[in-house]
């Protein structure tokens, strides 16, 4: 089914090569690859932190880590996994595949896209530099005041406050970018209801991010001012209320957890139909369930604060709103099972991970519902039961979903297949290790083991299950090693995958892999959901699948596209030219963040950083998108 690629006459601007080409790239595919690699590196780092934590908790009163080291590591494990692993992996897939799935040649603002990546990298390095500059943040990933503002003379929580602020700016920029891309750059004929579900989920995630990050931005500025300029936002003695931070944080926090899971749900909604050879069951219902989750996501934040003393009315209200989030989630799960029902399932690794996602997310979702029961949540809150819940939805859910995405789309961005046998070993090892680690935590939590404790005494019945969890954690580590071996080996020696190895349904399978920089020679006209599938197959009278009668080899995909007026359809394709301004602006922003951490003498660095940022922004605002435009 290879699409014969007409002779390219696109004038590829002769871009720089080597490292400089990566620093100045504005191609959404290369930025996607950079996001993916950075996320994988942080995933390994976050994983090592988790192993250290598990070693310390393997036995009571252990001496592996001191309390101070443990606190830094569990805080950085949380921050790393949320802000530097799961969000960037979602960004990697969205950056790479959103434009292609919509039939576009790039995102709406290529240079803003580059800025988002470089600011994210700046934020990551800024936060990790804290390890050698006086200790990493140790206030837990939620950084509750007044603990976060108790020691203004240290810099640890300044790295927390400014690190998330800078990462937030990167996410707001990329959200605006994706929203503009989805609403203004779809292929002709592709209405919103003909978009792939992954595109829908990326759009909803962009809305969740762009409307929730400013709120935590205000909270973080307040924390930063309390710590460095003596303001009294959270100082109880002066009349400030520490609960204000919890409200502002969780107003962002809950939409954030949907930001972490929805892209994985989007990937599963692409993988399941492809490997069941059946359309997604109830496309519209899955999409509207996603939108419902987005709206409800803004109305439930205080279920993280049932024990904070908000009074019965608020607790009852948020318990009810939280309960009804289970309805749209249930719709999604039933529709996924509906998709596999009556299909012809090929159990390759992407399919295994997606099925693993559905199986594990059911457990995580149900334990989530038990949290919405406010009275029983007072026993579960801040215990290991909650740790089990969010690992079942974040690891069993998001990470399994993204692993499915990696196995599914690896052939597209490298041109080679990931090895199936090694893939299956990776899946089963991760499945086993995951359950061994996090299933016992349900029991530990209910047996009264609180969260974030660096050790526990003997005699409370925590020893056995903590040991099992540590074994599980090392099994996961082995499975991640198997995964990395698979990635490295297959990049060179994997079987050559054509443009459409899985007989896919969406537009990215209609272009060669790896795709050229301009994606489509001719932008396709889209007539239905899963349009590429309907060009290959049709249905006989009882709705059974029938291959489309073979049309002269390969012309199928080409003549379907707009011929673009009278010329022979290969008009000049101008791709935006590389630009170093985004990277420069990101460097300026990171330098300013370092400066702000070390005021008063830091003001010099802030000045230098601000000037660099202004230069970057000014050059960027005046520079034409494509150089020949002059």
């Amino acid at each position: 089914m290879a699409v014969t690629t007409p002779e390219l006459t696109a004038t590829e601007p002769h871009g720089p090569t080597g490292l400089w080409s990566w620093i100045t790239t504005v191609d959404h595919k290369r930025i996607g690859i950079m996001y993916g690699i950075t996320a994988l590196v942080f995933f390994v780092v976050g994983g090592l932190e988790a192993l250290l934590l598990r070693l310390q908790l393997a036995s009571p009163n252990a001496e592996v880590l001191s309390a101070d080291a443990y606190n830094q590591l569990f805080t950085m494990h949380g921050l790393t996994m949320v802000f530097m692993v799961v969000m960037p992996i979602a960004a990697a897939f969205s950056n790479y595949f959103l434009p292609i799935m919509l039939g576009a040649r790039d995102v709406a603002f290529p240079r803003l896209n580059a800025l988002s990546y470089w600011v994210f990298v700046g934020a990551g390095l800024f936060m990790y530099s804290s390890f050698i500059l006086g200790g990493a943040p140790d206030g837990a990933w939620v950084g509750y005041a007044p603990l976060s503002t108790q020691l203004p003379e240290t810099v640890r929580m300044d790295f927390f406050a400014l690190g998330i602020q800078v990462a937030g700016i990167a996410s707001i920029a990329s959200s605006a970018n994706f929203i503009a891309t989805v609403f203004t750059m779809r292929a002709p004929g592709m209405t919103l209801m003909r978009m792939p579900v992954f595109a829908w989920m990326t759009l909803i995630v962009a809305f969740l991010l762009i409307f929730s990050l400013p709120i935590v931005g205000v909270g973080l500025w307040q924390m930063f001012f309390d710590r460095n300029f003596g303001s009294t936002f959270y100082l109880a003695a002066a009349g400030g209320d520490p609960l204000l931070w919890q409200h502002l944080f969780w107003l962002f926090g809950h939409p954030e957890v949907y930001v972490l899971i929805l892209p994985a749900m989007g990937i599963v909604s692409e993988v399941l139909p492809t490997f069941s050879r059946k359309p997604l069951f109830g496309y519209a219902f899955v999409v509207f369930a996603g939108i419902a989750i987005a709206f409800l996501g803004f109305g439930v934040w205080s279920h993280h604060m049932f024990t904070a003393g908000m009074g019965p009315l608020a607790e009852a209200g948020f318990a009810l709103s939280t309960m009804f989030i289970a309805v749209p989630t249930g719709i999604k799960i039933f529709n996924w099972i509906g998709t596999t029902w009556g299909g012809s399932l090929r159990l390759n690794t992407p399919m295994l991970f997606s099925l693993g996602f559905v199986a594990m997310f059911v457990i995580g979702g149900l334990s989530g519902v038990t949290h919405s029961i406010a009275p029983s949540d007072t026993q579960q809150h801040d215990s290991y039961y909650v740790v089990a819940h969010f690992h079942y939805v974040l690891f069993g859910g998001a990470i399994f979903g993204y692993m499915s995405g990696v196995y599914y789309w690896f052939p597209k961005w490298t041109g080679r297949m990931l090895n199936e046998t090694v893939g299956k070993w990776h899946f089963w090892l991760m499945m086993l290790g995951f359950n061994l680690t996090f299933a016992p935590m349900h029991l530990l939590g209910l047996n009264g083991m609180p969260r974030r404790i660096y050790t526990y005494p003997e005699g409370l019945g925590f020893e056995f299950w903590n040991f099992i969890a540590t074994l599980g954690a090392f099994t996961i580590a082995v499975s991640v090693l198997v995964f990395i071996v698979n990635l490295i080996w297959s990049k060179r020696k994997g079987d050559v995958a054509g443009p459409d190895p899985w007989d896919g349904r969406t537009l990215e399978w209609s272009i060669p892999s790896p795709p050229p920089e301009h994606n489509f020679d001719e932008v396709p006209v889209v007539r239905s959901v899963d349009d590429f599938w309907h060009r290959k197959y049709t249905e006989d009278e009882e709705g059974r699948l029938v291959p489309m009668p073979a049309v002269s080899g390969g012309a199928l995909a080409v003549d379907e596209t707009t011929t673009g007026g009278d010329d022979d359809g290969h008009g000049e394709i101008h791709m935006p030219s590389p630009s170093y301004y985004p990277a420069l602006t990101a460097v300026g922003m990171t330098v300013s963040a370092f400066g702000l951490t070390y005021t008063p003498w830091g003001w010099i660095a802030v000045g230098v950083g601000a000037v660099t940022m202004l230069l970057g922004l000014f050059g960027w605002a005046v520079e034409p998108v494509t150089k020949e435009d002059q």
């Binding site: 520490p242 069951f281 219902f285 607790e315 009275p375 969260r451 526990y456 059974r544």
Partner: protein, 368 residues
């Protein structure tokens, strides 16, 4: 080569073995478990939990079985050319699996809302025992405003909360530094102690606990270094035992006049009163409260049985180690203490010599 489906089946069995093993051993609940309540409120919460738990198990089994059945039945058989029917959806089914979960949740919602108001109800009336709980970095302070000693100070103790059986105890809770959370799973859910706010928690214990096996509790909100070692005990007494305990606690401790205790008393006055407090009876009979209450009250300290946030049993050699260098036994950061502004992050190492340590131990023992 083993047929593919055989291998697949063996792996599925392996998966469910581990899951089953995990769930099957629910029974092993220690005594800080939320699963064996020892008070009416904890029992109500437990009943609500069990209702929701069993509904979840049913839903879990149904959904997972449906998924596994779909995997087994509709797996692509290499031999026959099975071309699936292209079903796009089924609105009736969609309505069904929207309505059913909504109905189940509506059913659960009723006891939930009732439960919220029940758990949050603040008991009033003469028969209610009010106890002020103040969270400090890394120990709990308990004050009984109803009982005051000769010097007019309310009964103050630390790390061990004595309550009579079958009495509604209304804990009025706040924090002196950061947010903590008071959690004794056997009696009630946890409740945060927020500086600047007061919150309430009701404890009702069914029957008294043996004196050597009180109900364990722990701080459940991360409060920095020794969060794991900020524990407390709830000692449930019969009404008679409780009254005797109160009477004994209200007695001022006697200032020694001779022996190693006197040596201890000298050290106590010069070193310990910077943070600790005690109501003492001077040799001339006058009763006064000396010291500052930034750290646990040392009157009747030895009788509590546990110290350092209920992390250690009180024994001579542990007390000697503690007095020698407290940070060896518990992770603290005394260098960041700011006594003037009330910020206490640990007991510093005063470099006491042997005789001072023995004197203090003798003094505290004499104060029983």
């Amino acid at each position: 080569m083993v047929k593919r489906s055989q291998m697949m089946r063996r792996r599925l069995v392996l998966l469910f073995a581990t899951l089953g093993l995990a769930l099957a051993s629910c029974s092993g609940s220690g005594d800080q478990s939320a699963l064996d309540p020892k008070g009416p409120i904890a029992r109500d919460i437990d009943n609500l939990w069990l209702l929701v738990f069993w509904i979840s198990v049913v839903v879990f089994v149904l959904v997972e079985v449906a998924l596994l059945y779909a995997i087994r039945k509709f797996r692509e058989r290499p031999d026959e050319d099975f071309r699936p029917k292209q079903i796009h959806g089924n609105t009736r089914l969609e309505v069904l699996w929207t309505a059913i979960p909504a109905v189940i949740l509506a059913v659960i919602a009723v006891p939930t809302v009732a439960g919220v108001f029940n758990v949050r109800e603040i008991p009033e009336g003469p028969d209610v025992l009010e106890v002020e709980v103040i969270g400090h970095q890394w120990w709990f302070e308990f004050r009984y405003p109803a009982y005051t000693n000769a010097a007019g100070e309310p009964l103050t103790t630390a790390s061990v909360l004595h309550i009579p059986e079958d009495v509604k105890v209304n804990l009025i809770m706040t924090s002196a530094d950061v947010i903590h959370s008071f959690w004794v799973p056997a009696l009630n859910g946890k409740r945060d102690l927020v500086p600047g706010n007061t919150s309430n928690l009701t404890l009702i214990a069914d029957d008294p606990t043996p004196s050597d096996d009180p109900l364990p509790g722990q701080c459940a909100e991360y409060c920095w270094l020794a969060h794991a070692d900020m524990r407390f005990k709830v000692d449930v007494d019969t009404q008679a035992e409780f009254d005797a305990w109160v009477a004994e606690q209200l007695e001022p401790v006697v200032v020694p006049t001779s022996g190693p205790e006197l040596e201890g008393w000298e050290t106590f006055q010069s070193v310990c009163t910077a943070c600790h407090q005690a109501t003492v009876q001077q040799p001339d009979g006058t009763v006064e409260t000396i010291g500052v209450s930034l750290a646990p009250n040392l009157g009747h300290f030895w009788g509590r049985g546990v110290f350092a946030g209920a992390k250690y049993e009180i024994t001579d050699d542990l007390m000697a180690q503690w007095l020698d260098n407290p940070s060896d036994l518990k992770p603290m950061d005394p260098d960041r203490n700011d006594i003037a502004n009330g910020r206490v992050l640990g007991m510093p190492d005063f470099g006491l010599d042997g005789t001072q340590i023995d004197g203090l131990i003798a003094l505290l023992k004499s104060w029983e």
